[in-house]
């Protein structure tokens, strides 16, 4: 398993602003993922964050809206840019540790409300 810390845990943001979410893992991991979970919905993968290369985005998500950094094997950030009320969601960082057997572990999430 892995211990994953996310900051902020929650925030209220003004429309049109941007917010960066940080994700810190207690061990080195190759694969880190960013998910979005809108109210009452399941998890949607935004992108896979690769160390040393650009993130890989899923259909419907673009780098301009959700820029991601992955400077090392224990840290990543996700920025939600030019926010609108539709961006109000839980944003979750997750990792697949080397000994995870193809499963993933999640951080506590960052609950963003855009007003």
């Amino acid at each position: 398993s892995a211990v994953i810390s996310q900051k902020p845990s929650r925030d209220i943001c003004q429309r049109g602003t941007s917010l960066t979410i940080q994700c810190q893992v207690d061990s080195q991991v190759t694969m880190m993922f960013w998910y979005r979970q809108q109210p009452g919905q399941s998890l949607t993968l935004i992108a896979t964050a690769n160390q040393g290369s650009e993130a890989t985005y899923e259909s419907g998500f673009v780098i301009d809206k959700f820029p991601i950094s992955r400077p090392n094997l224990t840290f990543s950030t996700l920025t939600v840019s030019n926010m609108s009320p539709e961006d109000s969601s839980i944003y979750l960082c997750s990792v697949a540790p080397p000994d995870s057997g193809n499963t993933i572990y999640f951080g506590e999430g960052s609950w963003l409300t855009v007003v």
Binding site: S1, I4, Q6, R10, M31, F33, Q41, S42, L43, L45, T48, T56, I90, L92, S94, A96, S100, G101, N102, T103, I104, Y105, F106, G107, E108, G109, W111
Partner: protein, 112 residues
């Protein structure tokens, strides 16, 4: 048709009851199956992980996989109010965590 179907609930049962949560899937290539528990406004927590047909038990929790029927279940025995949460099934077809597919989640409430 969604790849993974899960009854959204809500499901409400009295304390001490046996709970059965279920998911069906359409892709016969799915090989790895997980159950996550998610409390309100928290991240999902991995409960069970299995990659073969049959049963896997961990305390009060039993995960069951029937690949021939494309059906997985999570049973909770002696349910407690602290089990009240949303339960998500998840599965992977390939040996890559980036291809994990989640169910929509079942909201479970255990009445004291």
């Amino acid at each position: 048709q969604k790849e993974v179907e899960q009854d959204p609930g809500p499901l409400s049962v009295p304390e001490g009851a046996i709970v059965s949560l279920n998911c069906t899937y359409s892709n016969s290539a799915f090989q790895y199956f997980m159950w996550y528990r998610q409390y309100s406004r928290k991240g999902p927590e991995l409960l069970m992980y299995t990659y073969s047909s049959g049963n896997k038990e961990d305390g009060r929790f039993t995960a069951q996989v029937d690949k021939s029927s494309k059906y997985i279940s999570l049973f909770i025995r002696d349910s407690q109010p602290s089990d009240s949460a949303t339960y998500l099934c998840a599965m992977i077809a390939y040996s890559s965590a980036s291809k994990i597919i989640f169910g929509s989640g079942t909201r479970l409430s255990i009445r004291p």
